[in-house]
Amino acid sequence: MKRSLVAVALGAIAMAPYAPVYAGEVEVLHWWTSGGEAKSVAELKKELEAKGDTWKDFAVAGGGGETAMTVLKSRVVSGQPPTAAQVKGPGIQEWAAEGVLANLDDVAKAGNWNSLLPPVVSNVMKYQGHYVAVPVNVHRVNWMWANPEVFKKAGAKIPTNWDEFEVAADKIQKAGLIAVAHGGQPWQDATLFESISLGVGGAEWYHKAFVELDPKALNSPAMEKSFATLRMVQKYIDKDAANRDWNLATAMVINGKAGMQFMGDWAKGEFTAAGKVAGKDYICAPAPGNKGAYTFNIDSFIMFQQKDASKQKAQKDLASAIMDVHFQEVFNLNKGSIPVRLGMNLDKFDQCAKDSAAEFVASSKTGALVPSWAHEMAMPPANKGAMFDVVTAFMNTPSMTPKQAAEKMATAGKKS
């Protein structure tokens, strides 16, 4: 059933090699609708319009793009895919296997992507050796965002491991404040658990469990300990957390209602929007036990095959615009992430981003650079979803033991 993607895509390119340059239209499906994200998208729109193309915004708001994915499927099935859509991780491979994606090799070659992108990134963007997606940025997920005022008031210090965390959290709670700002949505539960488990079990085990889906690593003492730690952390979350959006949790840290939040660096966009300065008004530190390790989350756009020559041209403009130095800088300044291109000048970025960029390179050498499974970078959506169910069930079922949860994780990781 699998059509050869490459053959089809190459055929399409051969048919319209160098079409005359006239304005095309790009329709981009995304769910970047809030604050800093929306500003970043506006930047992309501007770049594209400068190249003479028109931008047709196709925003579908809501969480991690759940609604957007439904819409995307229907559009593809109806034979009218958008030009580009926000899809990432193993999802890229799944779409490519359906034979609906466009081949971007010529844009990649012209832009020298192979040398600009670290291999961990470019591998994800390729299907059978051909580029089918464009990376936008690199997010670090295993951050801890802390309000130094709150810590000072409570007489606590920024924790570097989970034992220290318990001490600090206790003090904050005694001071009448909320220790951990969290939103009880499955993906946030998983984000928190991911940082905990990386801190508890280390990068090597993390890779075995969440990337290789090794059942022995999934149902292991390290997993049980991770769940036990999650149970401990849970004590410090307020009970109104259910279904709270992540940025409202961030706002609690910003306003000094809560001490810390475990969230990826998109949270920084909220601090920036509130006029806060990194290192002074807020602190970004690796989550306890996560020093030297790095969970990455790369946003990317997949490009769908287009019949119309002007749309193909616009599509390529979009692809090269995304990898453009100027865009990478402006976009990531708004979004809180770091540029995906290596070797960029980071002078305009704040300390958190510089740290992130340095650790990204450093951790790639030690093997502590791992994909974030909570953000769909590590495993197929079916397994990811099943693990979400386990983590969130654990969070919401006080009677579930870490051992039971670890057993369920092994079942959830079964390859289908």
Partner: protein, 309 residues
């Protein structure tokens, strides 16, 4: 109370010849045709399509190779599916019962020659005009312990008052019942009120002559004669309950965890967000089977009763 069915049209038409005659006879069927065709394709065809997919390993997009009953095995091994099923049981029965009881009560109360009946009716009916997205947003806020009702009561001085069902696993499904009933009761009330207004007064007068009190009149004459209304209300409420999707999404997002999942949200999540279209199709088939098992016998007995009654 229904008129006898009209005899077949052709017999009554004056005899004519040829095509015009044939056309005239076939006309009713021609008029009904497009609707039947639509139902055939877009209801039955799509059900068959879904049934087929439930026997495949479709993931991201539909695939059509037969793979046996593996999706059904996976489905019934899935804890979340059982939660969704038991939630449908809780939600469906409570929601329907609450709507029927409150709706009937309101209708009976409103039927007592009430002043400002028009105004009150509008008040009970307006929630039906709102979309579940709106209802969900409003109720999510009211039920939120930190912002809404609990907060309010505590501000009034009851420091230890708790009403946190929406954030409590195992209880959140009841908040869906509250919001759902709030929205749909008015419509049921309107149905019952219409039914009450249609009752023949002479039967009641006769009962009164026999010395029956108001309670007896309601329980043994009026309510039984509302049977067709109960049937219509059940159909409408049942269809709302089984299709409930927007409300759960807007109110609880299926949470905390997946504790307020319903089959409709389960199906959506697996088919569209987890790239398990085959599994989603299997769950959809189970929903359809449930619907057919419950509704068809009910409709059949009701139409039979009608025809012979």
């Amino acid at each position: 109370m229904n008129p006898p069915p009209v005899a077949a049209g052709a017999a009554l038409v004056r005899p004519r010849n040829g095509f015009a005659d044939y056309f005239e006879t076939a006309l009713p069927k021609i008029v009904l045709g497009p609707t039947l065709l639509c139902a055939l394709i877009f209801v039955y065809g799509f059900i068959l399509w879904t049934a087929w997919l439930s026997f495949t390993e479709s993931r991201l997009l539909p695939r059509y190779e037969f793979a046996g009953v593996v999706q059904y095995i996976t489905l019934f091994a899935n804890e979340r599916w059982w939660t969704a099923l038991s939630n449908l049981g809780i939600f469906g029965s409570l929601f329907i019962a609450l709507c029927l009881v409150t709706g009937l009560l309101l209708a009976i109360l409103l039927d007592q020659r009430i002043r400002a009946e028009g105004f009150l009716r509008a008040v009970y009916l307006y929630p039906m005009a709102l979309s579940f997205i709106v209802t969900g947003t409003a109720w999510r806020w009211i039920l939120n312990p930190g912002l809404g009702f609990e907060h309010l009561v505590r501000q009034l001085g009851f420091e230890h008052f708790t009403f946190d069902w929406i954030v409590t696993p195992g209880m959140s499904i009841y908040t869906v019942v509250i919001a759902g009933a709030w929205q749909s009761t008015g419509f049921v009330m309107a149905l019952f009120l219409a039914g009450l207004r249609g009752i023949d007064d002479s039967i009641i007068k006769a009962a009164q002559v026999d010395g029956a009190g108001p309670v007896r009149i309601y329980t043994s004459i009026i309510i039984p004669s509302l049977r067709p209304v109960f049937f219509s209300a059940l159909i409408i409420l049942g269809h709302i309950a089984i299709k409930s999707f927007d409300l759960v999404m807007a109110l609880t997002g299926g949470g905390p965890g997946f504790s307020s999942d319903l089959p409709a949200t389960f199906m959506y999540t697996f088919a569209f967000n987890r790239n398990q279209i085959g599994l989603g199709a299997a769950s959809a088939m189970m929903m359809l089977v449930t619907i057919v098992a419950v509704i068809v016998p009910m409709m059949y007995s009701e139409t039979r009763r009608q025809r012979h009654g």
